[in-house]
């Protein structure tokens, strides 16, 4: 069990995280927040790249700084940006990281090929990475995080650069993985966390403001999301002035506006909609 207890962190004078406390058990946690909210900072604190200014992080009750290597041993970490050696093939690179992770040599080759297969890179396992696209590099990063059967999987924007097919494959993989370990992934792409069961952590103004399942979060907006078909631009402009617009789309020549309102606006043709996580994101960070 991972416990983040009253953790604060600043860069110089700039406070980024303030008094964050979370208890994490096996399962999936989606860290959802806009750019610059401190997602990467929180994850770096968890993997001990940063040390908190105040508070502490505990693994099964013991401070992680004290646990040292025996704590890092159980981590699989995908940084948001990571350096790789262009002259290496994925196999060589994973072999190098396996040494850093202290994975046993026996069966290592098989393990490497199996994780590369998991991320769909077995065809290019022996190709130098200088020939790789951004999405392929990202999958090498995911592969290295998966290597070693970590109890704690920390993924910083894992789906960045992945195409829809790879994104779907990744989602299934994570759903499977989170059955018997803690998986924390950060994202600002709502659909990454919407469809998987698990908890959504939201950061706002340096604080942790939500720690709930996606459906529980959505229910907050129950009865407050509406759609309306507008014919003229004037109508649309008037609506935009009064309400917080969540999205607009064109359908059969007219515009459909989706908006947030505490009470029904009482407009003609107004239709109550089931809220989704994206609505919540937009409302929360408006």
């Amino acid at each position: 069990m991972l416990t983040i207890s009253e953790v604060s962190k600043s860069y110089g004078k700039k406070r980024v995280l303030d008094d964050i406390s979370i208890e994490l058990e096996n399962g999936l946690y989606g860290l959802l927040a806009p750019n610059g909210a401190g997602k990467t900072t929180l994850l770096k604190l968890i993997v001990t790249l940063l040390s908190p200014d105040r508070g502490e992080i505990l693994w099964n009750g013991a401070p992680v700084q004290k646990l040292g290597a025996s704590y890092r041993e159980i981590i699989g970490y995908l940084p948001q940006q990571f350096g790789y050696y262009k002259y290496n093939t994925p196999v060589q690179y994973l072999d190098y990281l396996a040494a850093l992770k202290g994975l046993p040599r026996e069966g290592l080759k098989e393990k490497i090929f199996s994780v590369l297969d998991t991320v769909g890179l077995s065809d290019v396992a022996q190709v130098k990475m200088r020939k790789f696209s951004g999405g392929m590099i990202q999958r090498v990063g995911i592969a290295q995080a998966l290597m070693g059967d970590s109890r704690l999987l920390i993924l910083d924007e894992p789906t960045a650069g992945l195409d829809p097919k790879e994104r779907a494959r990744f989602r299934n993989l994570i759903a499977e993985m989170s059955k018997n370990r803690i998986v924390i992934l950060s994202t600002h792409i709502v659909s990454d966390v919407e469809s998987v069961s698990g908890r959504v952590l939201m950061l706002k103004d340096r604080k942790l403001v939500r720690n709930q399942s996606a459906s529980a979060l959505c229910s907050e907006l129950e009865g407050k999301v509406f759609e309306i078909r507008v014919k003229t631009d004037d109508q649309a402009a008037a609506l935009k002035k009064e309400h917080f617009i969540l999205s607009e789309r064109n359908e059969a020549g007219s515009m459909i506006l989706r908006y947030y309102s505490e009470q029904p606006a009482g407009l003609e043709g107004e239709r109550l909609c089931p809220p989704n996580l994206e609505d919540l994101f937009l409302v929360m960070y408006r």
Partner: protein, 365 residues
């Protein structure tokens, strides 16, 4: 150990290592004095060493003088060298040409004996010797007395003395270049790619920085070893090894004044030790320069002057002033030879230890 091995593999990229190896070999073959060995004098000394061993005693010296007159007879008596037609004839004849070299070597030895070693073959210290001893430093005096007692004249050819004087500097420069070429890109690659966040979050953690420094030190030692091996190979290929057991400590015309009696081989081994020390020190210097700078250019501007000053310093402390410091006591000279590089090494080790300690607490941004 496994991670250290991996770091070394990263450090010794095959292309770069091979290029460095070829560069070192080419520089040694093109510039070193060893590559020009043996010249005509050296050939004659080679003959003498084959015949008489590394040193010449008094009886052998007398034999040599007799041999010289025989050679001169063979060459056509005194004044043979003044006849130009005759000279061409001699040069065309392999065995006669050999006589010319031998006569030349023997004449050099005679000259040296008159110059500095004459007393070595006197039975009693003569008045001139006593006079000479009075004007000597204690080391010079000890050296003269040693020759008087043993009555042995080292057969070190002028060539090997030149090798000892000029090749160490070349080797040192090659090792310093090697350190820069291997270590700067290695250190800067990880820094510029920002691989630290991945490395430090693994089991190894911040210990990786220690291992990287150690890999750099190993690279410095390896560069020194390889340069020394190449040099030894060149010495062997050019037949210098025949002089391995010849004492090189001497006075005046020949030999390098030194505080202890070393043979050519021992002197080389001493130099290899010193070179490895210099290699490790230069490696730490490069590792620190790279650690303190962000780009290749800044690392170079830091490392180049540092290496140059260090190289000049160590050369000044070892090769050049061996003769100037002949008046020093042995401990004082030893301090300047090995002590200065050791002190610099200790200071650098301390500096990198401090940097590593600071890194251990630093956030990896």
């Amino acid at each position: 150990m496994r991670v250290f091995g991996k770091e070394c593999r990263k450090l010794f990229r095959p292309g770069r290592s091979l290029g460095l190896l070829l560069f070192m070999a080419a520089a040694l073959v093109l510039i070193s004095r060893t590559a020009q060995f043996p010249d005509t004098h050296d050939k004659a000394y080679e003959e003498l060493v084959k015949e008489y061993g590394p040193t010449l005693d008094q009886a052998e010296y007398q034999t040599l003088l007799k041999a010289k007159s025989v050679y001169i007879e063979e060459l056509g008596g005194e004044g043979w060298s003044r006849d130009r037609v005759h000279w061409a004839e001699i040069m065309a004849d392999e065995s006669k040409r050999q006589f010319v070299f031998l006569v030349d070597a023997i004449e050099r030895i005679e000259e040296e004996i008159q110059f500095g070693y004459g007393f070595a073959f006197e039975k009693e210290p003569t008045e001139t010797l006593k006079e000479q001893l009075r004007s000597c430093t204690p080391q010079e005096a000890a050296r003269i007395l040693f020759i008087v007692q043993t009555k042995e004249l080292p057969l070190s050819s002028p060539g090997i003395c030149e090798i000892m004087e000029s090749d160490p500097l070349l080797l040192l420069i090659l090792v310093l270049i090697g350190c820069g070429v291997l270590i700067l890109p290695y250190q800067l690659l990880d820094k510029n790619l920002e691989t630290a966040s991945l490395m430090v979050s693994t089991r190894v953690g911040r210990r990786i920085f220690h291992l990287k420094i150690r890999a750099c030190a190993a690279a410095g030692a390896a560069a020194a070893f390889v340069a020394a091996l190449l040099h030894l190979a060149l010495l062997w290929l050019n037949g210098v090894m025949i002089f391995w057991n010849v004492p090189v400590c001497g006075l005046g015309l020949r030999g390098i004044p030194f505080w202890v009696d070393l043979t050519f081989g021992q002197y080389l081994l001493l130099w290899i030790g010193l070179l490895v020390l210099a290699g490790i020190t230069a490696a730490l210097l490069c590792a620190l320069a790279a650690r303190l700078s962000g780009s290749f250019i800044t690392a170079l501007t830091l490392a180049l002057p540092a290496l140059a000053i260090y190289g000049w310093g160590i050369h000044a402390c070892t090769a050049v002033p061996l003769s100037l410091w002949y008046g020093d006591t042995f401990p004082a000279s030893l301090f300047r030879t090995a002590g200065v590089p050791l002190l610099v090494l200790a200071a650098l080790t301390l500096a990198s230890e401090i940097v590593l300690r600071l890194d251990a607490r630093r956030d990896i941004l």
